[in-house]
Subunit: 273 residues, 2 copies
């Protein structure tokens, strides 16, 4: 059982991800809720979760949540689509009475609101797509909706290598997306935190008729709404950089941080896993 | 201190890698030494090591070696280029009096023997190339040799996604390799266990004038030589499949196993890390 503690509007929002992809969620939360204190944990020692088994992903999800719980957050945001898909219940259990929201359900809700044609595309890692969790979450909103999914496992390494605008990325993206576009979707969910980095390339292939749903923006909107309804919004002044924790300091870390956040790397705390 | 035990020609050869890329080494050892028993550990729960920090890579290397030592091997082969580059001393310490050979030194020795022009190219992960370990090992063989290195981080995901013959892979490979070819190398070391899977594509770009050194084949040759000199070769009949241990059973595991070994997945033992 998790220890109980008292939360207040000044308590931080805890966000975690398998690596640093979740920084797109940090960026979206900061944009929408600049007065909130943010604690971020990125499990850079064990990234990526996507290709791993459900048993391992669930164990990692529990450990990641425990790391955040030490900082007594008022809310936990699961920025990792893989954990949102396969282990949200583990996070909820570990978080006790603290509200937990995940990118997946937030993205699914927004997609269900936005679609007109009723045909929604979802792209993500192998694990996220294989779990069928986006399709289930979307159809929980409205079971008349049709969902077409496609795993795009090369998008993460291409984004991390900075092949943002490269002809090879375009070829890969065309291969991944042409099938979805051909099936007449009018809404496409970016079901992986890295994908917003490739958003322009993706939009070039999907065209102006298809609405892109960024799950990071969706979960930030949901966090604002939920904290507001609980009168737990921080009314203070704008916060400095988030408290950043990682399980490993990879070699290209500051470069990647800049790619995601557009700013220089702040101080980082290294935590054992 | 590791426990001492008595080895015999019938003792197994222990091989480990950060994931399943080391299966290219298993394949090469089986081809050259079909009578040897092989114990393989692939750290699939924490793969990839390449982008991680040296501290973390060294800890993983010790733990991986300990897993193999429980099976009392007569030799340990480090199939992981990253560990060979950054943590071979940790493996040697953990293995006590058991001989340890790594893909890196084996590949470096063979490249130094084969080059005529004295200009050798090396490709590998960010960590392997960044460590400069291949260049050092090659120049330890002959300090008149010139080494040109290039990190090719997208080759692993492209190989694992089966983009073996894809136009996108060709564009990426051209971008990575054209600089090396332009510098007049006559020998190219595949300094990552995954790269033999892309060997044909790589050869198409490097052309017939450049000799490809496969570090997996090199280390298998070295193992045969060393065991022979110690009269530790197994004289028995051909062995069945290797004893396979992994720290996670990823979703596409049997598919990947087939990609590397060309055969169906045998029984697998799951070990905790």
């Amino acid at each position: 059982m998790p220890k109980q503690y008292k939360i207040s509007p000044d308590s931080p929002i805890g966000i975690f991800d398998s690596g640093i992809g979740g920084l797109t969620v940090v960026k979206a939360v900061r944009a929408g809720l600049p007065s909130e204190r943010i604690i971020y944990f990125g499990d850079t020692a064990r990234v990526p979760y996507g290709p791993k088994s459900q048993v391992t992903i669930r164990r990692y999800a529990r450990e990641d949540t425990e790391i955040l719980m030490k900082h007594q957050p008022k809310m936990i945001i699961v920025a990792c689509n893989t954990v949102s898909a396969l282990a949200l219940d583990v996070v909820e259990q570990t978080a006790g009475n603290i509200p937990v929201i995940g990118v997946l359900k937030a993205g699914a809700e927004l997609a269900a609101q936005k679609t007109r044609s009723g045909k929604i595309g979802v792209i993500g890692t192998q694990a996220t797509i294989g779990s069928n969790a986006y399709a289930c979450a979307i159809r929980e909103e409205n079971d008349a909706l049709e969902v077409v999914s496609k795993a795009c496992p090369l998008f993460v390494p291409l984004a991390e290598e900075g092949f943002i605008d490269h002809a090879a990325t375009r070829l890969v993206a065309e291969e991944y997306l042409s099938e979805l576009v051909g099936k007449g979707i009018d809404t496409l969910v970016l079901g992986c935190t890295h994908y917003p980095i490739l958003r322009r390339m993706i939009e070039r292939i999907t065209g102006p008729e298809i609405t892109i749903i960024d799950s990071a923006e969706a979960v930030a909107g949901k966090a604002r709404q939920l904290l507001g309804s609980q009168t737990m919004l921080n009314g203070g002044s704008a916060q400095p950089m988030p408290h950043l924790m990682v399980s490993d300091l990879p070699q290209k870390f500051s470069e990647l941080y800049r790619l995601f956040m557009g700013t220089e790397l702040p101080d980082v705390e290294l935590v054992g896993v």
